[in-house]
């Protein structure tokens, strides 16, 4: 059984983050009720003609550039004809002859080893309506009809589940980072079809396609299950035929949907309603410039800025938080990354908000960092201040005043507190003398408490140690 090599190719459909649909000007949105974002074009009424969403073309171009593709500057569209209730025109407008990007690649890393996955092509097309099946009836929601999609097709370059999953993680990371797609598999804005074959020699085996797998980890399971099924079939002397299957999450098995008909049964031909058009060099350059720094580059940079590994991971995983970090990292990359991945992120998560929804600004971060550097604010005070800034905004200095967050850094005043606490805690002083460092922490805490958190902890620490070490206490 171990002599078989798996070969995997993946097709991913991603919905583009555009304001409107691909071929009409209705909103690309799932907010509101079913069939609320539709017009006669989306419903394929007789006499309607498609428009072109140039914003979608630019996002697709961005993706093609990200994936190192050659760009088909002169583009046309084609019709893919088939009957299905969710396809109102009876054909899907897609790019068969001139996909916007061809011959690209993505670098993945599996167990420390880098590998190139080649991209056959990236093309633009439109989504179908959504079918909702009930026991005796089916309903159609056309809000999704005509939503812009890109389909990204790899060469059969992957040979393990791990490689397939690494590819998908990488693809999602790139598309999310460049703000091309949400890539939420659970919501269907990213969908995966996996082609799997097995073979004992150089010659590729007959492949099957497993469609619409629900998550990246399920893709791994589906590949494993399908390869196992194929190997068992071959071992039993059966033949593998080209067919479309689906993955049953519960049983972790692939199930036959339909056997593929031979040859081209989609009757492709050029879409006569959309004349060929050409992207200008300026347009391509402009899109190139709009591509933000990608995760691999960010990782390297943050590492050099001494941001810890956990924070880097968290930042990369939260694109919007990360782009905020990009704006504030100059103040102090360590402090700001700690604040953003800590207090700020947990506030966002707790309240189900995005960074753009809150009132925290770049200037707030600058001021907080400044106060921390100047030892004018304690970490406890920052914890108290941040939620207010996030919720209501305002100015750091004014807010601190209003909250009575004045840090006592005056040695004379602090010495009085230190002396008082030492006098009140003879047992701890004794512990200190006996070499128990824990006592320092306890005493510090008592002093901070007595100052209602306002004492400058660095000064307190210095004064406390000086006083204890003087040894004239007895």
């Amino acid at each position: 059984m171990n002599n078989y090599q798996k070969t995997i190719g993946i097709e991913v459909h991603c919905e583009l983050k555009t304001k409107t649909k691909m071929f009409s000007d209705t909103l690309n949105s799932y907010e509101g009720s079913e069939n609320s974002h539709i017009n006669t074009i989306d419903l394929a009424y007789p006499g309607t003609l498609p428009l072109i969403n140039h914003g979608a073309v630019q996002l697709a171009l961005k993706a093609a550039l990200l994936f190192h593709c050659d760009i088909n500057k002169t583009m046309s569209f084609d019709r893919k004809n088939y009957f299905y209730p969710d396809l109102p025109k009876g054909y899907q407008i897609t790019q068969a002859r001139t996909p916007i990007g061809i011959n690209g690649y993505v670098m993945i890393e599996v167990q420390g080893e880098k590998k190139k996955v080649r991209i056959h092509d990236i093309h633009i097309e439109e989504d179908t309506a959504k079918s909702i099946h009930q026991v005796d009836k089916s309903y159609l929601d056309f809000n999704r009809s005509g939503v812009p999609l890109i389909e990204i097709v790899t060469e059969p370059d992957m040979h393990t589940e791990e490689e397939a999953m690494a590819y998908l993680h990488k693809l999602r990371e790139l598309l999310v980072y460049a703000d091309i797609s949400d890539c939420k598999m659970e919501e269907g804005s990213m969908r995966c079809d996996v082609n799997v074959s097995v073979s004992m020699n150089e010659q590729l085996g007959v492949r099957t396609e497993t469609k619409n797998i629900g998550s990246i980890s399920s893709v791994g399971k589906a590949i494993k299950a399908e390869a196992k099924r194929q190997i068992e079939a071959l071992e039993n002397g059966e033949k593998i035929v080209e067919e479309t299957r689906r993955f049953d999450e519960k049983d972790e098995k692939t199930i036959l949907m339909r056997v593929k008909e031979t040859g081209n049964d989609y009757r492709y031909f050029p879409e006569p309603n959309i004349p060929e058009f050409t992207l200008t060099e300026e347009e391509i350059e402009e899109v190139k410039q709009s591509i933000p720094k990608m995760p691999d580059a960010l990782r390297e940079e943050y590492h050099e800025l001494n941001v810890n590994e956990n924070n880097i991971k968290t930042l990369i995983a939260h694109r919007e938080l990360c782009s905020f970090f990009e704006q504030v990292k100059e103040y102090d990359s360590v402090i700001t990354s700690n604040l953003l991945t800590g207090d700020v992120l947990s506030y966002l998560n707790k309240n189900n908000l995005k960074i753009k929804d809150i009132k925290l600004t770049k200037e707030h971060m600058r001021d907080i960092v400044q106060k921390i550097h100047d030892q004018e604010i304690s970490s406890k005070q920052v914890k108290k201040l941040l939620p207010i800034l996030m919720e209501k905004g305002g100015q750091v200095a004014i807010l601190m005043n209003e909250l009575g967050m004045v840090q006592i850094s005056d040695d004379h005043a602090l010495q009085q507190l230190v002396d008082q606490v030492i006098a009140d805690n003879p047992a701890s002083v004794e512990d200190f003398k006996n070499g128990k460092d824990r006592a320092i922490k306890y005493l510090m805490g008592q002093i901070m408490k007595a100052s209602r958190g306002q004492a400058n902890p660095v000064s307190v620490n210095r004064l406390l140690l000086d006083t204890l070490n003087k040894g004239d206490l007895n």
């Binding site: 006499g47 004809n81 031909f269």
Partner: protein, 487 residues
Amino acid sequence: MNNYLDLTITELHDLLLSEKITPKDLVDEAFERIEKSSLNAFITLDKEGAYRRCDELEKNKELMKESLLYGIPIAIKDNINTKGVRTTCASHMLENFVPVEDAFVMNKVNDAGMIMIGKANMDEFAMGSTSQTSYFGTPKNPWDLSRIAGGSSGGSASCVAGGLCPIALGSDTGGSIRQPSSYCGLVGMKPTYGRISRRGLIAFASSLDQIGSMTRNVYENALVLNALVGHDELDLTSSKHETEDFTRFIGKDIQGLKIAVPNYFMSDIVDAEIKEKVLETIELLKRNGATVDYIDIEHLEHAVTLYQIIAMGEASSNLARFDGIRFGYSCENPTSVDDLYSRSRAEGFGKEVKRRIMVGSYLLSGDYATEYYTKALQIRNHMKKSFDQAFQKYDLIIGPTTTTCAYPLGEGVDDPRKTFLDDVLVIPVNMAGLPGVNVPIGFNHTHMPIGLHIIGNRFEEAKMYQLASFIEKELQLDLKVKEGNHE
């Protein structure tokens, strides 16, 4: 009866301006004539809408001064969407389909102050050359009620030639404006592809379809074209060509005009009587200072084959949307989605439409696509280039519009090849995206009209009207059908 509708549009305009008549008088007369007529030219009349328009127009005297077409009744081919008025494509499939939006051209028709009186009969989904595939019966030729008016815009031709209204809009995918205009003695223009927006025209073959008008004379045709053109940003194939006055060369002489006649257009495929009339016209042009040369245009003989492949391929896809789900005919008690599809389409479409969908699907399938469709596109491109070369040397190309005159009803119904061959001379123009116009040049021995086909380079409709109007003026044909002939 006043017979206002026998007057020219210019004469009517003077009467309207001097307030001797109102738009309502014209609409009254149109409906009176339609009621008496046995032409079967209309599928749906819109009396209510027409009289509502009359009221609106009477309040808009400004428009009356601006637009020569103000108050003029117009028939609209029933494959052009009219908001609130059913648009059937002469098909059972769309028998009860009421569009929610007007076609682009309807906005233009309304802006010019014209009054839509009804939807003209046609071949089902514009598929045919005789209008005999209509679900609503065949429109008749006013010159001889036992003959066809042609197709697919047969109802449009029939109603204008029959004097029911002065103007009709048609659509032309492979001659569907020019051929019936020729059969009925009208001026019918298929403008350059893209000249008039196709938005709201129910598609037959999108790369060939073009809206145009059918009128009683050249000047009125140019007036209507003036009203219909203009860029439509909602039709990506709509041209951005500047609008112009298409009447501007009308009345000019033809001294020095360089004209070409493709040899194929004067070959044995054309009826002798028709050829004779064309030759007479050529002599007339020469006498008046034009040069006429015989030339060869490549692939003209393949035009019908190209048309069958390209038009049917596109049609098979364009008509896939009629699935019984969102609009149009839906079969009763479907047992499954497949049953819904197959019965709705089997019961909703007529025989010719189904035949073309099947042929088109076959030609686009698998390997046939390369063998037929891709090949056809290549030949189409060659033909286009051959025309382009001719237009580097010549101003206009002419020939007969049809190979025969209008033939008796019932002929060709069971012989699809024959009806396609009717269009052999007009199809190349659609293939090359060129403008083509029919102008009457006489009658055959049974007094059925004969037409000359004038082909121009892209966007040179004005030059075509120049030649057409010259011929019209020189020949002074009596193109009015004898009164009572069609009642």
